[in-house]
């Protein structure tokens, strides 16, 4: 027997009951939005609690707690979308928002909302406990102190340490005219250590963090938090010795894990359904074409256990899935939400996401990664006569129309005669999305996902994502350093 509370029960208890909203009331609101010209409408209820703790200068300096809840109403008529929201979850506010959303279309008769179908909650990719309550506040503080002490203990050149811990407990309920009646309970935690090392007047920074859809206690297990502190210190010390980065085209070896931000920028965004429906992406209309070397298979997988980018259901109530974007170098498909899938005659891939109830749903990535190949990472490095080995990155950006993308290395080394030699300063790497993966000549057997830090921005909306890849060799890429 399963005594676990379903997400739907949790959402009903957290959102509908306090507002005195019945299912009949929701049905009536949706029914009023639907008209002869409105073919789809949905309500997105969200209730979230967020906390953060910051240690700096050796003291617990900041603590904050945020409560946010509200409901967004969307009405779709063909390609037209009407959207309104309210941060009061009460029936009058909901009705008002519904009327505003509906205003994109002329008045029409009432249409019937399909009977709710509640999909059985057959899987749970993460726990449904409130991470904020997972350990006592005193233990959160103790964790921050331990990491601060660890960073300072390792090396006396560490002058500044900032440790931050944050947790989010979010409950969403999605009710749609197509019969969707779905809920999700989404925990998300994050721990970060950043340091500044100083030597002979030179200062450099290092930072490491991670997290996912689990509880704070994970940071205490296997000294995960301690490892972040050590890693931040290591990076800062490496950078103290970094020389100017080279400029120009050269072979680039990307490390495993977080460097997968390459795939996110170069490939992922260009395959989002909205851009392809509009024909504004450099990948538009290219399904079936070769866009990468045969060594490359890239997927977007929202079903990974406890990952930062994972969701049981997306923000339209569609169960997430593993979507193959590129298979052995051939472009296979796009990432879809309901609107763009319908307009392109396909199915949602469970990639409809939104930052909050106050934002419109658009196609977004979840966890995007490239599958492992056959080479040992050492072999890949040994194959490079003169090039760059980049293992850590800041972030990236892409112009999906021209396909040009950049990402910024924060830890990189020169490869000379097959050996990693000197560390070089951070530099921007630039390339062209539809070309770059064609130049992948070796793929490592060391697939790794990032530690759980990704934030993706699109149309002014931020959502948590994951990336990953094995060690990769790109035959030629432009490195934006300062040395000839």
């Amino acid at each position: 027997m399963n005594l676990k509370t379903t997400n739907l029960e949790t959402a009903r208890h957290a959102i509908l009951e306090p507002a005195g909203l019945s299912e009949q009331a929701l049905q009536k609101v949706l029914g009023n939005v639907l008209g002869h010209a409105v073919d789809y409408a949905d309500l997105y209820f969200q209730s979230s609690r967020h906390e953060s703790w910051v240690l700096e200068d050796g003291i617990i300096k900041e603590g904050s707690y945020n409560i946010d809840y509200g409901v967004g109403v969307r009405a779709i008529s063909g390609e037209k979308v009407g959207f309104a929201y309210s941060d009061d979850i009460i029936l009058p506010a909901l009705e008002e928002a519904a009327m505003a959303a509906k205003s994109i279309t002329a008045q029409g008769g009432n249409h019937q909302v399909q009977a709710w179908h509640r999909l059985p909650e057959t899987r749970s990719l993460y726990g449904d406990d409130d991470p904020l309550k997972s350990i006592p506040d005193g233990d959160k503080i103790a964790l921050l102190r331990t990491l601060d002490a660890e960073a300072r203990r390792i090396d006396s050149r560490i002058q500044r340490v900032i440790v931050s811990l944050s947790g989010l407990y979010e409950v969403v309920l999605i009710v749609a005219s197509d019969g969707t009646f779905s809920a999700d309970v989404r925990p998300l935690v994050r721990l970060n250590v950043s340091v500044i090392a100083e030597e002979n007047g030179r200062r450099e920074q290092g930072s490491q963090g991670g997290g996912g859809r689990f509880n704070y206690s994970r940071f205490l297990e296997n000294d995960l938090g301690i490892h972040y502190a050590q890693e931040a210190v290591r990076q800062a010390l490496v950078n103290l010795n970094a020389v100017a980065a080279p400029a120009g085209v050269m072979p680039v070896v990307l490390g495993s894990g977080w460097p997968g931000v390459l795939l996110h920028e170069a490939i992922g965004h260009g395959l989002e359904g909205d851009f392809n429906r509009k024909g504004s992406s450099t990948f538009s209309g290219r399904v079936g074409e070769r866009v990468a070397s045969p060594l490359c298979t890239v997927v977007d997988d929202g079903t990974l256990f406890e990952r930062r980018g994972s969701l049981n259901v997306d923000d339209e109530g569609t169960p997430t899935q593993c979507t193959t974007l590129i298979e052995n170098g051939i472009l296979k498909g796009y990432l879809q939400d309901k609107l763009n899938a319908r307009l392109m005659g396909s199915q949602s891939t469970g990639n409809g996401r939104r930052e909050s109830y106050a934002h419109l749903t658009i196609p977004r990535m979840t966890n995007t990664y490239l599958l492992a190949g056959n080479h040992l990472p050492e072999e890949i490095i040994a194959s490079v006569e003169q090039g760059l080995y980049a293992v850590n990155f800041g972030g990236g950006q892409v112009d999906i129309t021209s396909g040009k993308f950049v990402f910024n290395a924060s830890e990189a080394y020169l490869i000379e005669k097959g050996k990693i030699t000197r560390p070089v300063k951070g530099a921007t790497l630039i390339g062209s999305g539809p070309d770059i993966l064609k130049h992948v000549s070796m793929v490592g057997n060391d697939l790794k996902l990032d530690t759980g830090v990704g934030v993706c921005g699109k149309d002014g909306q931020s959502v948590p994502v994951g990336v990953g890849q094995p060690t990769l060799k790109i035959e030629g890429m432009t490195v934006g350093g300062t040395e000839r």
Partner: protein, 441 residues
């Protein structure tokens, strides 16, 4: 849209009163409210109409020098009470920070000047749709190379902000912002390029015309077509006015208190030192009427004042809040929350003069990525623009990076154009820099 915001002020007063009842040493609270709509038209038909309405309350409490912060979107009395209690709980765990606390009482704004920031429009969704459509139409009609569009958006917002603290300060002011933007795609053969234009103002009457926004967006997209890669080289670089604000933004971040006391800036200990050549002056004018960056007081109630940041190339003032000022043993500059209207002096020459003066080099019109390291000043970003020879634009270039150290870029600044960008809080013309490394093929 209600003009009666008294209840928002009352909420702040109530929070401050309750915090005194709870025996707290000090507290501050702010309420923000905003409302508006935006409409996007793509390929001549409505793509979306969005109605925004947001409110929020933020509270920070102090127990001695220990603080706790909360925020909530629920402004009901019960939620306010539990938020205050949560803030007090947090302050049990944070530690004494000798520099923390409210702003010093003598720095608080004594009167709240009317900066003419509030120009409500009463634009309906139908009008917004119509204006967006006219804008996109003029972009699409501009040239047959405009093959596709990401649409045009008209948006209008009105907001009200209240801030109060237990030193007796309670200030509030409304403000509006209207904007129109257009993004279109030009196509030639296999090459597809997207670019945009926008206009934004406090008063709808001050917006650029729908036609000009549409046509500029079209022109900007078309001129990027058939961009070439270029060889790696060292050359002078002009940052065009619309992106040059980013350079000044990096400068401001590097002289901001938070980065200075953390020693995470390449400009620590640079007060009264030379950073730019002597023709460069930078001034903050926070009370500019109708200014997009104008504010009568900062995020902690401190009076904002006009002051010089760079005089004849010398750094005369940091950018500080009360907290960072105390850390550095200085006085707040009224910049809790950032700078308000930064004016960069020009060299009395236009962009064409700058290009002529450069002779041969790169005109950058687009930057990509986040490659600015404020700790070291290392700068490396993706770029696109135009190659210049013989003082003339030759052809568009792309897939390149520009790199140097910001300290060198600032000291090797050659000239600033009078083609001043006015659509944000940084007023700057195009900037010519002596030389940078350009990485290409």
């Amino acid at each position: 849209m209600s003009d009666n915001w008294d209840h928002l002020k009352e909420i702040v007063s109530e929070v401050l009163k309750k915090s005194k009842q709870l025996g707290l040493d000090a507290a501050e609270a702010s309420v923000s409210w905003s409302s508006g709509l935006s409409a996007t038209v793509r390929l001549g038909t409505v793509e979306s109409v969005e109605f925004n309405r947001d409110k929020g309350l933020g509270i920070t409490v102090y127990k001695g020098k220990k603080k706790g912060s909360v925020s909530t979107t629920d402004l009901q009395p019960a939620a306010i009470q539990s938020s205050l209690e949560a803030a007090c709980r947090i302050a049990e765990y944070t530690e004494e920070d000798p520099y923390s606390g409210l702003a010093d009482i003598e720095s608080l704004a004594r009167d709240i000047p009317n900066l003419d920031l509030d120009h409500p429009s009463n634009v309906t969704a139908e009008q917004a749709v119509q204006w967006a459509k006219e804008c996109e139409d003029s972009a699409r009609a501009f040239d047959s190379k405009i093959a596709n569009s990401e649409g045009a958006t008209f948006a209008t917002h009105r907001g009200y902000r209240v801030y109060g603290n237990t030193l007796g300060f309670l200030g509030a002011y409304p403000g509006t912002r209207h904007s129109l933007n257009c993004i279109v795609i030009a196509k030639s053969g296999d090459c597809m390029q997207r670019d945009y234009d926008f206009t934004t103002a406090r008063d709808i009457k001050d917006l650029n015309s729908r036609n000009s926004v549409g046509q500029t967006a079209a022109l900007r997209s078309i001129r990027r077509l058939n961009a070439r890669k270029m060889k790696t080289c060292e050359a002078p670089v002009i940052f065009s006015a619309e992106i040059a604000g980013g350079l000044w933004g990096s400068f401001i971040a590097a002289i901001s208190g938070g980065n200075l006391y953390r020693r995470s800036s390449f400009l620590v200990d640079h007060l009264d030192k030379r950073i730019f050549p002597d023709f460069v002056n930078v001034e903050e004018i926070p009370h500019l009427r109708k200014g997009l960056g104008s504010a009568p007081f900062d995020d902690e109630g401190v009076a904002t004042v006009q002051h010089s940041i760079v005089q004849a190339g010398i750094l005369k003032s940091y950018v500080l809040s009360s907290y960072s000022a105390r850390r550095l043993g200085l006085k707040t500059t009224g910049n809790a929350g950032g700078v308000n209207n930064l004016f960069i002096s020009d060299s009395e020459c236009d962009l064409a003069d700058l290009i002529k003066r450069m002779g041969r080099g790169l005109l950058v019109t687009e930057l990509m990525g986040h490659g600015v390291n404020l700790v070291t000043g290392d700068y490396s970003r993706g770029a696109g623009g135009f190659w210049i020879e013989d003082g003339q634009i030759q052809y568009p270039v792309h897939e390149i990076t520009v790199a140097a150290n910001l300290k060198d870029m600032f000291s090797n600044l050659v000239a600033i154009g009078d083609d001043t960008e006015k659509r944000g809080n940084i007023f700057t013309g195009s900037v010519l820099i002596d030389r940078m490394m350009i990485a290409g093929s």
